[in-house]
C-alpha cells in the first residue's frame, strides 16, 4: 500500500526539517524516499505535519488503572459515547475504558504510548488490557525498585546476578524498561513505613535507595537496554523534596550510558521539585531542577503537568497515596504486591484557588520553559495524576503562548506570584520544540528513535496532520486555535493506514506491544535463578511455573533485542 503526503508544513526536528514544505512517501507502513504514481495522495494543503505523538509516561493499563475504574463509576459516567459501526463505546475521563484510551490518543494524533509501571506479578493483567487498546503501539515499564531479588543482589553487590534478574524480569513481564519508584519505600510500606531519603537503610535488606538506583542504572547499561532507568524519586509530594531529586540526578554520574541517550530519566518532576519545609512555606524549585538539567547531559525529565479539575492519582508509591487520602479525606485504593512493590489510587480535584495546586501548576510549566533543551523535558501530565492525557493540547497552548499563561495566572491563587517564577517567564516554545517534547524527545528518551518520533527514511509511517498552517498563525496570540487543532487531528496515520480523519476514527487496527529480550550469559541466569526458585518456594503465594506472562497475552509483539554489550562501569 503506497501513500504520499504533499504540501505539508513538516516539523521533523530529528531530520532538521522545521516547517518547510516536504513530501512524505509511505510504502508498506514505512517511510520511503519515493513512491510510484499509483500512490494515494493526501494533500496537506500547507497544514502542520508531524510524526505520530509518542507518550513516554502514562498510566493506561493494568491493576492500578482498573482499581481507579472500579473506585470511580462517577468518572466512568462522565465520558460516555455510544458505540458506532467502527468504535466500541467510550467511557470515563480520568480513567477511560480500554477503547477510549486508544481512540482518544489517536484522535490527538498520538500513535505510541508507554504504560508507566507494572509489577512483574501483575504484568499479565497489564498485557490483557494492552491487548484491548486499539490503534496505538504500546509497552510497559517494569517495576524493580523494591523487589526482594533486586535488594538482595544490590546488597551482595553482585551486578551479574542483578543484570540477569533485570533481563529475566523483563522477559517474565514482557516489559520494555526498568522502572524504579520510591526505591526501598515499597518494601517498607509492607509494614506501613517509608524511606525518608537516599541514604536511609531499608530494614531486613540492608540497602539504601541510593545503592538501588545506582545498581539498577549499572545493570540497565550492562544490558544495553533501549531505555534508561525511569526514576520516580523518593519523597515525592513532600515540601523540600527538590534536594532529594537533585541528589538522585547526580547519581547518574556514576554510570556511563551504553547508548546515545540519557543514563537516567526522572519522571513527573512537577511532584518532585518542591521547596520550603511545610505547606505554609511550600514553593517552586523548578529553576534549581531545570538548572541542573541545563548543566548536565546524562539526565532527562518529564513535566507531569497539572490540569485543573478532576484527576485520579495512581502510583506505586504506596506511602504517599495513604498520606494523600488522609489529607484529602478521599477514598483510598491500596495494592501491595508481595516481594515486589506497593501501589495507591486516590481521586483528587485541582482547584485554581488552592495555593498548593496553583504552585504545582506553575512548577510544571516552569520546568519546560526554564529547561533550555526540549530533548531534556518531555511533555506529560503523568496521566491521570496531573490530569488526563486529553489535555495535552492545553499544555501545548500554554507553552506556546505567554498571553494564555498570563490570562490563566490572573485566575489563580496569588501564591503563584510569591512562590513561583511563572509570571515573569516570557519564553514561548515553537512548533519544532513542541515536536521534540511530544515526539522526537520522547522517542529518543525511550531509545526508539530509529522507528519512532521522526519522519526519516525507514521510520514507521506514523504521521499526524493538524488543521493549522504554521506560516499563517501566531501561536503566541491565537492559542485557542492551537489548542483545538492539536485536540482533533485532521489526519492520523498509523503504519501507513489512515486511522483518524477530521477528528473521527476511521479504522481501528491492533497496535504492537514492545518488549525487550535482553541476552545474558547462561551461567549468570542459572546462578540468579537459584535465588528466585528459593523465593517462590518460601515466600511467593503462587508457583514459579505460573508467574511469567505467556505468549497468549502478547499477540502482536515487537521484540527489541538487547544485552551482551560489555560496558565500562566506573
Amino acid at each position: 500500500m503506497e501513500l504520499i503526503i504533499k504540501n505539508g508544513a513538516v516539523y521533523d526536528p530529528v531530520n532538521g526539517i522545521n516547517g518547510d514544505k516536504t513530501d512524505i512517501s509511505i510504502k508498506d507502513g514505512k517511510i520511503v524516499d519515493k513512491v510510484s504514481g499509483k500512490a494515494t495522495v493526501i494533500d496537506a494543503g500547507g497544514r502542520l505535519v508531524m510524526a505520530g505523538g509518542v507518550d513516554a509516561h502514562s498510566h493506561i493499563a493494568g491493576a492500578k488503572v482498573n482499581v481507579g475504574r472500579i473506585m470511580r463509576p462517577e468518572d466512568t459516567r462522565s465520558g460516555i459515547k455510544p458505540r458506532t459501526k467502527i468504535t466500541r463505546p467510550y467511557t470515563g475521563y480520568t480513567v477511560p475504558n480500554v477503547y477510549a484510551m486508544g481512540y482518544r490518543y489517536a484522535q490527538m494524533g498520538y500513535t505510541t504510548v508507554f504504560e508507566a509501571a507494572q509489577a512483574i506479578m501483575k504484568a499479565r493483567h497489564t498485557h490483557e488490557e494492552l491487548e484491548e487498546i486499539p490503534i496505538i503501539d504500546k509497552g510497559a515499564l517494569t517495576l524493580f525498585g523494591s523487589n526482594w531479588p533486586t535488594m538482595d543482589f544490590v546488597r551482595e553487590k553482585d551486578m551479574d546476578k542483578l543484570a540477569a534478574y533485570v533481563a529475566w524480569g523483563l522477559l517474565a513481564s514482557r516489559g520494555f524498561g526498568v522502572k524504579c519508584v520510591n526505591p526501598g519505600g515499597g518494601e517498607m510500606w509492607g509494614f506501613g513505613k517509608n524511606v525518608s531519603g537516599l541514604d536511609d537503610v531499608v530494614p531486613n535488606f540492608d540497602v539504601t535507595p541510593k545503592e538501588i538506583i545506582v545498581s539498577l542504572m549499572k545493570a540497565n547499561e550492562m544490558l544495553g537496554l533501549p531505555h534508561s532507568v525511569h526514576l520516580h524519586c523518593n519523597n515525592l509530594g513532600k515540601p523540600g523534596n527538590y534536594k532529594t531529586t537533585l541528589a538522585s540526578m547526580e547519581l547518574a554520574n556514576q554510570v556511563k550510558a551504553s547508548k546515545d541517550r540519557q543514563v537516567l530519566h526522572v519522571t513527573h518532576l512537577t511532584f518532585n521539585s518542591w521547596g520550603g519545609t511545610n505547606w505554609g512555606d511550600f514553593e517552586s524549585k523548578a529553576d534549581e531542577v531545570a538548572n541542573y538539567l541545563n548543566n548536565n547531559s546524562n539526565v532527562t525529565g518529564d513535566m507531569g503537568q497539572l490540569i485543573w479539575g478532576s484527576a485520579t492519582t495512581m502510583t506505586a508509591d504506596g506511602p504517599v497515596q495513604y498520606a494523600n487520602a488522609k489529607l484529602l479525606h478521599a477514598k483510598w485504593g491500596n495494592g501491595d504486591v508481595e516481594l515486589e512493590d506497593a501501589s495507591g489510587v486516590v481521586p483528587i480535584f485541582y482547584v485554581k484557588q488552592i495555593s498548593i495546586h496553583a504552585i504545582m501548576w506553575a512548577i510544571g510549566l516552569e520546568l519546560a520553559l526554564l529547561t533550555k533543551d526540549p530533548y531534556k523535558m518531555l511533555l506529560t501530565t503523568d496521566h491521570p495524576n496531573g490530569g488526563p492525557f486529553v489535555n495535552y493540547p492545553e499544555v501545548i497552548a500554554l507553552l506556546m503562548s505567554n498571553k494564555k499563561r498570563q490570562e490563566e495566572i490572573k485566575t489563580l491563587h496569588e501564591a503563584v506570584h510569591k512562590r513561583t517564577m511563572i509570571p515573569g517567564i516570557e519564553r514561548e516554545l515553537d512548533f519544532s520544540e513542541i515536536a521534540i517534547m511530544t515526539r522526537a524527545g520522547t522517542a529518543k528518551v525511550l531509545g526508539l528513535l530509529d522507528t519512532k518520533g521522526n519522519l526519516g527514511i525507514g521510520a514507521d509511517a506514523d504521521i499526524s496532520i493538524y488543521d493549522i498552517k504554521p506560516d499563517q498563525i501566531d501561536p503566541t496570540v491565537e492559542h485557542s486555535k492551537i489548542k483545538s487543532a492539536f485536540s482533533s487531528a485532521a489526519y492520523a496515520i498509523k503504519d501507513g493506514q489512515v486511522v483518524v480523519k477530521d477528528g473521527q476514527i476511521t479504522s481501528t487496527p491492533q497496535g504492537r506491544t514492545y518488549w525487550v529480550d535482553a541476552y545474558v550469559p547462561e551461567q549468570d541466569t542459572s546462578e540468579m535463578m537459584k535465588d528466585i526458585v528459593k523465593k517462590f518456594k518460601n515466600y511467593y503465594s503462587m508457583q514459579l511455573a505460573n508467574y511469567m506472562v505467556q505468549d497468549e497475552y502478547v499477540t502482536h509483539a515487537q521484540v527489541i533485542k538487547a544485552g551482551a554489550i560489555p560496558v565500562e562501569v566506573n
Binding site: 459516567r77 455510544p82 480500554v98 490483557e128 509492607g190 503465594s541 505467556q550
Partner: protein, 432 residues
C-alpha cells in the same frame, strides 16, 4: 498417562495453582493437593451430552444439533427488548470478552454471580476505595488475621494453609503460633472454633459493631453503649487493642457482611475501619470471593465498560446502577423478556420470584451441567469446562491474574465458540 504439575483449580476464589493432575488417555484419574471442593469438580460429574430444545417449559427436551440450538438462541436474543446475560463466574476471561461484545450488540444487561455474592463489596469500593494487598503479602507479614462473616473451613478450605492462618513467610516463620486469629460471626462455625477470639454478633447488627470499633479506635469510647449488636463493650475495646498493637492486620470478609442488613454499607464501614487502623499499624482488607473467576469478570468488565457488574447496554452505551440494572432488580420487576444464563446457575441461586419470572420467558442456558436453570430453560447448549478442558485467564480473590491449563481434550465446544456463533447469527438476523 501424563502428569500435569502446578495446575490451577477451577473452583473457589483461592485459585490454588499447585495441583498435580494425573491423566490417563484423556481421562483425569487423580487430583493431588486439591481440597474436597476442587477435586470434586476436577474429577467431574454427570454432563449434559448434547444440545437440546423445547418450546414450552413443561415439555421434555429434544436433542438438536449445535447449529439449530445456536440459531434458536440467536432468534430469542435478537428479538428481545430487555435481554439479560447472566452468570460468567465459572468461565475464563476470554469468554467474558465475547459476552460483553454480545451484550453491547444486543443492547442487553450483563451481570455476573457477584450480584448474589460480593457485588455489594464493589458498591463499597465506590464509596471508600479498597486498601488491600496480594495474598503473599499477608502470608509473609500478617500477625493478626480477622475473618468477618466468612467461614473458610467450608468455603475456602486451603485458604488458611496457603495464605493466612497457618502460612509461613519471611516475617512469619512461626506460622500459626505467632498469629492471633479473630473470627466474627452470628454463629460459632468450624472456623470460629479455631479462633483465639470469637466475637458473636447479633444477626444483622454488623454495621453497628464496626462503627463501635471505629468510635473506640478514634478515641470516642465514651459514646459507645455497654453492648453493641450483642457484643460487650469490653470485648470491643479488647479487640481494638489487639488490632492497634499488631504489626500487620489482615481482614477477610464474606457474605456474612455482604448479605446482612445495611449490605454494602457493612463493607464500606469495614474499609473505613481498615483505613483508620493504618494510622496505628499496617492493615489491609480482602473479600473472600466465591467462584474461581468471579473476580475476573469484574476486572474484564471494568476495563471494557468502565463498570464491574450490572451493566445495561440498552441505549448503546454502558449504564450502571445496582438497584436498577442488577439481574434480580430487572427479574423482580418482570422487565426481562429473554435471558441467557452462562457459567452460573440462576435457577439455584436466585430468589423464587426471580426464578418464577425466568420460568415465564425464553431462557438459553450455556453450561456443562444439568441444574435448576436447565429446568427453566428452553434452549440448552452444553460446553467444555473452563480450566479443565479449556485454557484461559482467571483472577484470584486478591486480583492476581493467572492462566488456567487445559488438562484434557474437550468433548464439547468451548463457550467462546458458541458465543461467537450466536453473535454472528444475531448480526445476520438483524441484517448487519
Amino acid at each position: 498417562m501424563t502428569v500435569i504439575t502446578d495446575a490451577l483449580c477451577p473452583f473457589c476464589g483461592c485459585l490454588c495453582d499447585d495441583l498435580t493432575i494425573v491423566v490417563d488417555n484423556n481421562k483425569i484419574t487423580d487430583v493431588k493437593k486439591a481440597c474436597k471442593l476442587g477435586s470434586a469438580k476436577i474429577m467431574g460429574h454427570h454432563r449434559i451430552k448434547a444440545p437440546m430444545m423445547r418450546n414450552d417449559k413443561n415439555s421434555e427436551f429434544r436433542e438438536v444439533s449445535y447449529d439449530e440450538a445456536i440459531n434458536e438462541a440467536a432468534i430469542i436474543l435478537s428479538n428481545s427488548k430487555r435481554p439479560l446475560l447472566y452468570g460468567w463466574a465459572s468461565a475464563v476471561c476470554e469468554v467474558h470478552k465475547k459476552g460483553i461484545l454480545l451484550a453491547e450488540e444486543l443492547g442487553a444487561i450483563i451481570d455476573n454471580t457477584a450480584t448474589v455474592c460480593h457485588a455489594p463489596s464493589t458498591l463499597a469500593v465506590h464509596e471508600k476505595g479498597l486498601p488491600s494487598a496480594t495474598l503473599g503479602q499477608i502470608k509473609n507479614r500478617a500477625d493478626v488475621i480477622v475473618f468477618w462473616g466468612s467461614n473458610p473451613v467450608h468455603a475456602h478450605p486451603r485458604h488458611m494453609g496457603r495464605y493466612s492462618v497457618f502460612s509461613k513467610g519471611l516475617f512469619t516463620e512461626k506460622g500459626r503460633k505467632a498469629r492471633k486469629v479473630i473470627v466474627v460471626d452470628v454463629r460459632k462455625t468450624e472456623t470460629a472454633n479455631m479462633a483465639d477470639e470469637y466475637v458473636q454478633v447479633q444477626q444483622g447488627s454488623d454495621y453497628l459493631v464496626v462503627s463501635a470499633l471505629r468510635a473506640i479506635l478514634s478515641g470516642h469510647a465514651d459514646v459507645v453503649p455497654d453492648t453493641v449488636g450483642g457484643v460487650s463493650k469490653e470485648q470491643l475495646i479488647k479487640i481494638v487493642e489487639v488490632l492497634k498493637t499488631a504489626k500487620f492486620v489482615s481482614i477477610f470478609f464474606g457474605m456474612g457482611l455482604t448479605q446482612s442488613k445495611s449490605m454494602y454499607k457493612n463493607i464500606d464501614n469495614a474499609i473505613s475501619l481498615t483505613t483508620e487502623l493504618n494510622s496505628f499499624t499496617k492493615c489491609v482488607i480482602t473479600p473472600m470471593r466465591g467462584h474461581y473467576n468471579v473476580t475476573g469478570f469484574g476486572q474484564v468488565c471494568s476495563w471494557e465498560t468502565g463498570f464491574a457488574t450490572a451493566v445495561d447496554f440498552a441505549r448503546g452505551a454502558p449504564y450502571y446502577n445496582p438497584g436498577e440494572t442488577a439481574a434480580n432488580d430487572v427479574l423482580l420487576r418482570k422487565e426481562t423478556d429473554a435471558a441467557m444464563i452462562i457459567a452460573g446457575d440462576a435457577g439455584a441461586h436466585f430468589p423464587a420470584d426471580s426464578v418464577r419470572h425466568l420460568a415465564r420467558i425464553p431462557v438459553v442456558q450455556i453450561d456443562p451441567y444439568w441444574n435448576p436453570t436447565t429446568e427453566v430453560a428452553n434452549v440448552v447448549i452444553p460446553v467444555a469446562i473452563c480450566g479443565v478442558e479449556v485454557a484461559g485467564t482467571a483472577y484470584r480473590m486478591d486480583g492476581v491474574s493467572l492462566r488456567m491449563r487445559k488438562m484434557v481434550e474437550p468433548m464439547h465446544p468451548p463457550d467462546t465458540e458458541i458465543l461467537e456463533k450466536i453473535t454472528e447469527r444475531v448480526r445476520e438476523l438483524r441484517g448487519e
